[in-house]
């Protein structure tokens, strides 16, 4: 299956992963400057799933995300400068500085938005899928979330409704075992397999190794085709691992909530390095090609920070705009008012 992937596609996948890796590392490095004055949830180590989503879905398929949104945004092809500017609270930010790190949006690439309440955006993706079906636009909705989100009742409710109406939506769970400092064992019963639980709710499920980028890509492509072909929603669960602290730029293994051994074992399975190796051994890229890809991404990341630095702060008065849409949105037919 792995070898089925065309070289350009594989390189596209790698490029997205490199972007996430290098951007997050740059954020981590520069966060202590205190110019990014908002929470940040980095995805270093979790580059695979968001990138595969970006490659496998169409540009106009709608992705909804969470607090850990940078990678999802970047994976789907979101503008890097607008992201970093948003972290800086600048006018050039993708939400004009209103949202900060947890509220990103780039609708031009189908990254509808991320929201900061756990599981909150899952039903929105289902709603988008409902609209897609009715509008017949062939789009697929996609909710990305973590292993804690499945503990929220709204998750079960959303899955139930999507299954009931066989909606074109993907539920994608990045299972990194932790919710902040809390391991799955303290939140879900022993022996729980999330994907089995969801299968019993009545949807097709897929489970996979989140460090195997090409396999993840194949799984997402398959699931998207399933949903697009009106066969109903798909739930995908991938095992992955967050390298850095839950929120903020640092490593925090010293806090003792997880072992150094566990961390090292996951880091040894670095998904970016693995895909680099695979592409080189497949012959899709040679060492020079890889280096130049990395360099170009590094330049993109640097440019994004330049954009953010150069962008002005929005005036304080901008906080008092755009609460409501002024115009009505329904056609009228000899409509008359009192």
């Amino acid at each position: 299956m792995t070898s089925d992937v065309a070289p350009q596609t594989a390189i596209d996948l790698l490029r997205r992963m490199e972007r996430i890796r290098l951007l997050e590392e740059a954020i981590a490095e520069r966060y202590p400057e205190e110019k990014m004055r908002c929470p940040t949830h980095l995805s270093t180590g979790q580059e695979t799933v968001p990138s595969a989503i970006g490659v496998a879905l169409r540009r106009d398929d709608q992705v909804f995300s969470t607090h850990r949104s940078h990678a999802h945004y970047v994976g789907k092809g979101g503008d890097l400068g607008a992201l970093v500017a948003e972290l800086y609270g600048k006018a050039g930010g993708c939400c004009g500085g209103r949202g900060g790190s947890m509220h990103l949006s780039d609708r031009s690439v189908g990254f509808v938005a991320s929201t900061a309440i756990v599981a909150n955006s899952i039903p929105l993706a289902v709603g988008a899928a409902l609209a897609n079906r009715l509008l017949g636009n062939g789009r697929v909705g996609c909710a990305l979330f973590g292993d804690a989100a499945v503990e929220e009742g709204v998750f079960s409710e959303s899955v139930n409704f999507a299954a009931l109406r066989a909606l074109p939506v993907l539920f994608v769970c990045e299972n990194n075992q932790y919710s902040v400092f809390t391991h799955l064992r303290d939140r879900q019963p022993a022996g729980r397999r999330i994907h089995e639980m969801v299968a019993a709710m009545g949807v097709r499920t897929v489970v996979g190794d989140g460090n195997d980028a090409l396999a993840v890509l194949a799984a997402v492509e398959d699931a998207a085709a399933h949903a697009r072909n009106r066969k109903g929603p798909v739930f995908l669960e991938f095992a992955t691992y967050r390298w850095r602290e839950h929120c903020g730029p640092f490593y925090d293994n010293d806090l003792g909530y997880r072992t150094a051994g566990e961390f090292e074992a996951w880091r040894a399975r670095d998904p970016v390095a693995r895909l680099e190796g695979e592409l080189v051994s497949r012959g899709d890229l040679d060492a020079a090609g890889l280096r130049s890809l990395q360099e170009s991404v590094r330049a993109e990341v640097a440019a994004a920070f330049d954009v953010a630095e150069a962008s002005p702060f929005p005036p304080a008065a901008d906080a008092y705009r755009e609460l409501f849409v002024a115009q009505d949105g329904m056609p009228s037919q000899g409509s008359h008012t009192e």
Partner: protein, 353 residues
């Protein structure tokens, strides 16, 4: 356009039907929407007319189904979602407050959430503590929501059409005791602009501000008071957020006396907000302390004898006006006789709902 007398429930039905005819993007769902009772008659036949893709029942999942509506609205539909009691909708506050109310603002005005949420408030038949709450004060406190509370059948239609046409999330509150009240309702695509109060009656002495069912009590009281030589402005708020301060404060400035009426608990009520704003902004014009009436700060009991006197009525309105004017105005004439049922809007109203 002609206006016939139809009920408030029929007016709501007509509004949804008109909207769905005008705009294919309007969908309508909620518990019981396509069932044989059709949410107090307001959704009867819509599924047959518009099909099961646009009109459907839902699982008992209030929170997700609110999020689904937000997502569908963002993606191009105009959902009208119905809940048979506001009490059930307490499950959906996250999606209402964190999603519906904030999306447009957070994403700097690039998205819109054209969503109408119909919620039933008020009494019904012995509904008790968890089937008769009235949470407009909560909704009106949250920036980004419009909140509508029609009193008259015509407004129920006109405001619902305007709510569905509006590109913002609208919470539309229907009092259970109003569904069967009839009134002249214009035919066709009749819209009443949101954010505009109506002065249902003009007078010089007191401003009575009502909303939803309390406007009925205000009108009854004003009629009685007129017979005693006291004339009232009766301001029917219609929209609670954004509230039509020009009309309300204009009337208070004219009469110098305010009595604000609320369907909910007195503490933290919208009536309190009106009293506060009037005190701050009409200070010079006020002739006496501004007043309000609402429910006592207790959960609503179910039992027959316990609800006697629980809800403020026209009689209480007149009593307050008596205090404000310092004279006797015959409030007792409006008291519900001990041998009449106080727990139904009329003898035609039967249980079990």
């Amino acid at each position: 356009m002609t206006a016939r007398s139809i009920t408030y429930a029929a007016a709501i039905h007509e509004a949804i039907q008109t909207a769905m005819t005008l705009d294919e993007r309007v969908i309508c769902y909620g518990l019981g929407v396509p069932d044989p009772k059709g949410v107090f008659g307001t959704t009867l036949g819509l599924q047959e007319q518009f099909g099961a893709e646009r009109v459907f029942d839902m699982p008992t999942s209030e929170n997700a189904m609110t999020g689904v509506a937000v997502g569908a609205a963002l993606a191009g539909l105009r959902p009208v979602v119905t809940h048979q009691r506001v009490d059930f909708f307490l499950l959906a506050m996250d999606q209402l407050v964190n999603s519906a109310a904030k999306w447009r603002y957070i994403f700097r005005g690039e998205m819109a959430v054209p969503l109408t949420i119909r919620l039933v408030i008020g009494r019904g038949w012995g509904q008790g503590p968890t089937h008769s709450q009235s949470l407009q004060a909560w909704f009106a406190h949250v920036p980004g929501l419009k909140v509508v509370m029609p009193s008259l059948a015509a407004d129920a239609k006109g405001l619902l059409l305007a709510s569905i046409a509006d590109n913002n999330p609208v919470v539309f509150l229907e009092h259970r005791w109003l569904h069967n009240q009839a009134g002249a309702v214009p035919e066709g695509d009749y819209r009443v602009p949101l954010g505009k109060a109506a002065v249902l009656r003009e007078g010089a002495d007191v401003t009575l501000v009502g909303m939803s069912f309390m406007t009925m009590e205000a009108l009854r009281a004003a009629e009685h008071l007129a017979g005693r030589g006291v004339t009232c402005d009766v301001v029917d708020l219609r929209t609670i957020a954004p509230l039509d301060w020009d009309t309300v404060l204009g009337s208070v400035s004219k009469t110098g006396r305010l009595l604000a009426l609320d369907t909910s608990w007195i503490t933290g009520s919208v009536a309190g907000e009106i009293v506060a704003r009037a005190a701050t902004e009409c200070w010079e014009a006020l002739k006496c302390a501004p007043q309000r009436l609402g429910l006592p700060d207790f959960p609503v009991p179910a039992g027959y004898s316990l609800t006697r006197g629980f809800y403020p009525t026209a009689c209480d309105v007149v009593r307050k006006v008596e205090q404000m004017l310092g004279r006797e105005l015959g409030a007792e004439a409006l008291a519900i006789p001990a041998d009449e049922h106080h727990d139904v809007p009329g003898e035609w109203f039967k249980g079990p709902f």
